[in-house]
């Protein structure tokens, strides 16, 4: 048992998966000798050698495309895309092939592929290094989409993703890479890929979030607790398949719901959660749902970035708003 940061937990899960299954290989730009620009793959080259930890040329579509070929041949590729902003070129391969190979061949071929990528803003990076495109991936039938918000969940969910028989997009919030830490027993225990995490129970309102903003949400819940307001916080770390039950059960209890995400509001994944509530939980709703999300603008460059990112102030205001509604 040792305290690991989220990026160290990713590293530990990769290592564990590689020890357990010789078919697991890691590939991507700068993942081998450099150990990844965030060090997520640090030390793997030394331990597993150049045939299992592979530095690739600079070509993201190709990386995902060839990983599909590897996977169809029974390998378990874990591809790193250096930043999520460079994953859009992989959309074609992910959507037209990775997610469909099993269905297209009625199960004859399949694609046990994990594409890992650091996502989200708040690290004062240059443009394209702060993206949150999870809703796009979640719209694709045949893909699973995971965004851990703690080191422990990163460890357990990444292991599950690698062991899963189908393609998983695994987005890692850069803002938490070093900030989120947990005591982790590196014993290979995975977490289910279809269960949301109820992180704090409460009775007055439900706060639903994923990725880095889970922490802001927890902070708001703690803050409001001091005022006697009891907020339930759900981390939808496995966005797809969505665990609607946990969400419905919580809102059935609280009657009020705020959904928080960093991606632009319109057609963000928050919409899907709100829609499910409007379909299956309407009678529980005592107040309109409020989404606290990125604006429908481009994330500003670092000097104004913090104005774009949902923060505890906006989240707390939203919770107060749903509570005030009568």
């Amino acid at each position: 048992m040792s305290e690991l940061s989220l990026v160290q937990a990713v590293n530990a899960a990769l290592r564990r998966a590689m020890i357990d299954d010789s078919h697991v290989i890691v590939l991507g730009e700068d993942v081998a000798v450099d150990g990844g620009v965030f060090r997520a793959t640090d030390g793997l080259l030394r331990e597993f050698g150049t045939e299992r930890v592979i530095d690739t040329p600079l070509a993201e579509a190709g990386i995902v495309g060839l990983s599909i070929g590897l996977a169809a041949q029974g390998m378990r590729p874990v591809a790193e895309i250096q930043f999520t902003g460079f994953m859009y070129t992989c959309m074609d391969q992910l959507l037209n092939h990775a997610s469909r190979l099993r269905n297209r061949t009625r199960g004859r071929l399949n694609c046990p592929l994990v594409v890992r990528s650091p996502c989200g803003g708040g690290i004062r990076a240059v443009e394209h290094h702060s993206e949150s495109p999870e809703a796009m991936f979640a719209h694709v039938p045949g893909l699973r989409v995971v965004i851990p918000s703690s080191a422990a969940r990163a460890y357990g969910l990444l292991l599950a993703a690698i062991r899963d028989a189908d393609p998983v997009v695994f987005l890692e919030p850069t803002r938490l890479y070093r900030a989120a830490r947990d005591e982790i027993v590196d014993d290979g225990t995975s977490l289910p890929l279809d269960k949301a995490f109820n992180l704090r129970s409460g009775t007055d309102a439900t706060l639903i979030a994923w990725g880095a903003l889970v922490h802001e949400s927890l902070a708001v819940a703690a803050e409001l607790a001091s005022e006697g307001i009891s907020v339930e916080v759900i981390d939808v770390a496995t966005l797809k398949p969505l665990d609607t039950e946990t969400i419905l059960a919580s809102v059935a209890k609280t009657g009020r719901c705020v959904i928080v995400h960093e991606a632009p509001l319109t057609a963000g994944f928050g919409a899907e959660i709100a829609a499910r509530l409007a379909e299956e939980g309407l009678s529980s709703l005592l107040a309109p749902i409020v989404r606290v999300a990125g604006y429908d603008t481009v994330m500003p460059l670092p000097r104004l970035e913090h104005h774009y990112l949902p923060d505890t102030r906006r989240i707390a205001a939203a919770v107060r708003r749903v509570l005030a509604y009568r």
Binding site: A61, G65, L70, A72, N103, R106
Partner: protein, 385 residues
């Protein structure tokens, strides 16, 4: 030190005609291979397999079978019993020559115009009909279990081939992957990325370019300024070769050599096979909108089946009655398969939910149940053809 090289002299006006201090640092040549000329006569010594009458007849039969399938598929489409279909008329040598060079444990990754090659690989006629009839079971391939299904997004399977080959290489298996793409596909970035990966990692992968000179209405001259498609290999440090794609012996020889090198650790190869698309792009296309018949007709003289036939006849390897029974075999095989296809009931509609994941998520199961409920409401399913 040189001067007046092409860089400094042409084209465009020559202003700074100073003696540029250039040296030549790399030279490349692109070769063209032909084994049979247009009349079917050997050009030089033939490769070893061409001494084997059975081998040649097998390729001849495969090309005829492909063409017979093709004609049947087009006629089924015309009468509403098959979906949009891409005929391979005139390009059978590329496909058949390529697949004939492969071993069963290799992996074939075809584009949508390689029916001949797929048949050689062991995909059944019924599977082909099912696929083109809009039924996923056509991709199940009882025969070549590891072959890829047809890739519809042009060129997008090129990187898959590199991955397949990389898996083989990492496992130290003497196998190789063979992808066929069109001339149009050579303009796509994913194909280039694949080529570059294959070059730098020396993966055992052969790219065969079916240069049928057209990408729907776009002739290859408007597709790229590169004089040959073979020379595109130079960009990735790979050996490129052009072959006469209407010469099935040449195609097979080139791919065999490529595979042999690949299995021996020599890495990837890129083979341009020059042929001609004699028919429409697909049954949805009307080529008369963009090319004159006069442009097409000379190419009928070069078509690959007639060429091999002339060769076989010339060598006394094919008698008139051999040929008649071969044609009859092909025809009846295709008819039987077409009938079997048409008699195949559609899949259970619920199957659309059952193959996305190894284990269906709860959410999807619920959608399946909801769909099943609507199904039972319907009295009779709508006709599906």
């Amino acid at each position: 030190m040189r001067q007046n090289s092409s860089w400094w002299v042409s084209p465009g006006p020559l202003r700074d005609s100073w003696e540029a201090a250039t040296s030549i640092i790399a030279r490349f040549e692109i070769e063209h291979l032909q084994c049979l000329d247009a009349e079917g006569l050997p050009v030089g010594q033939l490769p070893a397999f061409a001494e084997d009458r059975e081998a040649l007849l097998a390729m001849y039969r495969a090309m005829v079978l492909a063409r017979t399938f093709d004609a049947k598929a087009v006629s089924l489409q015309r009468t509403g019993r098959l979906g949009t279909y891409a005929s391979a008329l005139g390009q059978e040598a590329v496909s058949v020559g390529t697949a004939s060079a492969m071993r069963s444990e290799d992996v074939f990754l075809p584009s949508f115009r390689e029916h001949g090659g797929q048949l050689v690989r062991g995909v059944t006629l019924v599977e082909l009909f099912l696929f083109w009839g809009g039924d996923e079971r056509g991709n199940v391939f009882a025969g070549p279990r590891h072959d890829f299904p047809v890739s519809i997004p042009v060129g997008s399977h090129a990187p898959h081939a590199v991955g397949v080959a990389l898996a083989m290489k990492l496992r130290r298996e003497p196998r190789a992957a063979v992808a066929v793409i069109g001339d149009g596909a050579t303009s796509k970035g994913d194909v280039y990325e694949a080529l570059n990966f294959a070059g730098v990692w020396r993966t055992p992968v052969i790219f065969v370019i079916n240069n049928n000179r057209w990408a729907i209405s776009v002739p290859v001259e408007k597709q790229t300024a590169s004089r040959t498609l073979a020379q595109k290999a130079i960009a990735a440090g790979i050996e490129g070769l052009q072959v006469d794609g209407n010469d099935v012996i040449a195609v097979r020889a080139a791919v065999e050599r490529g595979l042999e090198r690949a299995r021996g650790g020599g890495g990837a190869a890129w083979i341009e096979a020059v042929t001609y698309r004699l028919g429409d792009h697909t049954t949805a296309d009307d080529a008369s909108r963009y090319r004159d018949d006069a442009l097409v007709s000379p190419h009928w003289h070069d078509e690959p089946i007639a060429r091999l036939r002339r060769h076989l006849v010339h060598r006394g390897m094919l008698q008139k009655n051999d040929e008649e029974s071969l044609l009859e075999d092909c025809r009846s095989a295709v008819e039987a398969a077409a009938n079997e296809y048409m008699a195949t009931p559609p899949q259970d509609p619920l199957s659309m939910f059952d193959h996305l994941f190894a284990v269906s998520p709860a959410d999807l199961k619920r959608q399946r149940e909801a769909f099943a409920a609507t199904m039972t409401v319907t009295t009779s399913p709508r006709s599906t053809r």
